[in-house]
């Protein structure tokens, strides 16, 4: 494997594609690795798309196709493969797929998204493909003029229930909360209430799926009274949230939350340098296409500044035989400007065994944080990659001493 990518993005949903647009437009050699042959992630299974800013009339698949086209325009490369293993130690990281392909990259954006959560009730697995479904676009056709049950009350559940009324004769939504209370946003709630084909069962959850070969009965349990009732139906769609796709991160140092989401800060940085998380896979509250796209953009920009800072440091400080004088300064701090000027006037580089490197702490957070620089001006002396001396607020004598 000779090619090393600057930026490798795992996952081709809105977060990944947005990262790809930003990365490749900034001339990073960018690869998107997607496990499916079609880009889009969860959005590929949606239909309506009403709230992407600036795009008034579109569908979810159309929008995500234009994301892909946009990334291609700037030269993003695409490959198919499901990531199984990551080696994240060191500057060059390795990504291995289930089929054994290997890719190398200097920075990585994890944008693997999430997948539908299973309910885990009796009969759920048995009746998969026989009336129990997690994908309305896949299976709606089967239920023309029939009765379907939708379990869940978040945005997806209510949106999909509304979509299913285009096919089914009747859609019954099973809501675990008390009457009138749903997790979905008000707009979807109002549409559901206004739809003649939709009925609600409150305070309830699905306890069991029964039928002869195909789904015939949903056994519901009232969570308040404990009572069970049977509801005749032809299909059961389950939309009770999602679980993040992060199994492949178990053996890495990328820290996850208890729920399996990736912990990252507002700069999308994970606990591993050069590795970022974006979109639904990241721990956060709002999970929308536009927020995923925002995450992706941030991740790519941060990855780029990481690459610049890391490569500059490696090339100029770590890979040299000379003694390196590193001057940390900040353009908003006058004293550091003066010190910087004093250092430059010393003519350090006249000595062929010495080298001066200037680090703007405002722009180069990576190195500033790595060396715990809390004050400017600070001068570090580095030899063979190791810090040998540190002077904060150096005096003129101390500066002159740098020449010895």
């Amino acid at each position: 494997m000779s090619e090393v990518y600057d930026l490798l993005i795992v996952g081709g949903g809105p977060a990944g594609l947005s990262s790809a647009i930003y990365g490749s437009r900034s001339k990073l050699k960018t690869l998107v690795l997607e496990s499916k042959s079609k880009m889009g992630g969860q959005v590929a299974d949606y239909h309506e798309m009403e709230n992407y800013p600036g795009v008034v009339e579109t569908t979810a698949p159309e929008l995500v196709e234009s994301f892909e086209e946009h990334a291609k325009k700037f030269g993003t490369e695409f490959a198919k493969g499901e990531v199984q293993e990551l080696e994240l130690d060191g500057f060059i990281k390795t990504v291995k797929t289930k089929k054994g392909e290997e890719y190398q990259a200097k920075s990585i954006v994890l944008a693997t998204g999430a997948e539908p959560r299973k309910l885990g009730c009796e009969g759920e697995a048995e009746f998969k493909g026989k009336g129990v479904s997690y994908c309305a676009t896949c299976d709606a056709d089967f239920f023309e003029d029939l009765h379907v049950v939708v379990v869940g009350n978040g945005n997806s559940a209510i949106e999909e229930a509304i979509y299913l009324t285009k096919f089914a004769a009747k859609v019954t939504i099973i809501v675990i909360h008390e009457e009138g209370k749903m997790d979905a946003e008000k707009l979807f709630q109002e549409r559901a209430y206004a739809n003649d084909k939709i009925e609600f069962v409150w305070n309830s959850t699905l306890k069991e799926v029964k039928g002869e070969g195909i789904v015939e009965t949903a056994v519901l349990k009232n969570v308040k009274t404990g009572e069970t009732t049977e509801l005749d139906c032809d299909g059961i769609f389950i939309f009770i949230g999602r679980v993040p796709s992060t199994d492949f991160l178990e053996d890495t140092n990328v820290q996850l939350t208890e729920g399996g989401y990736i912990k990252a800060d507002e700069d999308m940085k994970t606990t591993v340098p050069g590795v970022y998380a974006a979109g639904d896979v990241r721990e956060k509250v709002v999970r929308q296409v536009v927020t995923a796209a925002g995450d992706g953009a941030t991740a790519a920009v941060m990855a780029q500044s990481y690459l610049e800072a890391e490569e500059h440091w490696r090339d100029n400080v770590l890979k040299t035989d000379k003694q390196v004088v590193v001057a940390f300064w900040n353009p908003t701090q006058d004293e550091s400007l003066n010190t910087l000027q004093d250092i430059e006037e010393l003519g350090i580089e006249a000595d062929e065994n010495k080298k001066l490197v200037k680090i703007d702490t405002y722009r180069n957070r990576l190195i500033t944080n790595r060396y715990n620089i809390t004050k400017v001006p600070t001068v570090l002396i580095i030899e063979s990659g190791e810090e040998v001396e540190r002077v904060e607020n150096p005096t003129e004598e101390e500066l002159a001493g740098l020449l010895k």
Binding site: K38, G129, K130, T137, D139, D141, F142, E144
Partner: protein
């Protein structure tokens, strides 16, 4: 792979000897489109031992439901015209299909 419809389904599947593998799919089902090339590969590999066919549920919904298929993707295996196994779900892997096929071929 053989295209099935209501006119040839009985003859090609239910009245056929040996193992028949039917891939139920539709154009609006992304996981189906994902899986199809993999099933086609298996069809090439196992073509002399089993019959491979596909059924687009568009226009054949009743036929699919009669076979108790109400979700996609669905891969249904028949042995001497009798339904022997039904694999389904968007997490269905080609390896699962191959394993079931080998089991039924004995």
């Amino acid at each position: 792979m053989l295209e099935l419809n209501k006119d040839n389904f009985d003859n090609e599947v239910l009245e056929s000897d040996g193992v028949v593998v039917v891939d139920f799919w539709s154009e609006s089902c992304d996981p189906c489109l994902e899986l199809m090339p993999e099933v086609e590969k298996l069809a090439e590999e196992y073509g002399d031992k089993a019959k491979f066919a596909k059924l687009n549920i568009k226009g054949n919904r009743r036929l699919a439901m009669k076979q108790q298929v109400m979700g996609l993707p669905s891969i249904v295996f028949y042995v001497d015209g009798e339904k022997a196994e039904h694999l389904s779900g968007d997490d269905l892997e080609p390896a699962d299909i191959e394993a079931t096929l080998n089991e039924l071929l004995g």
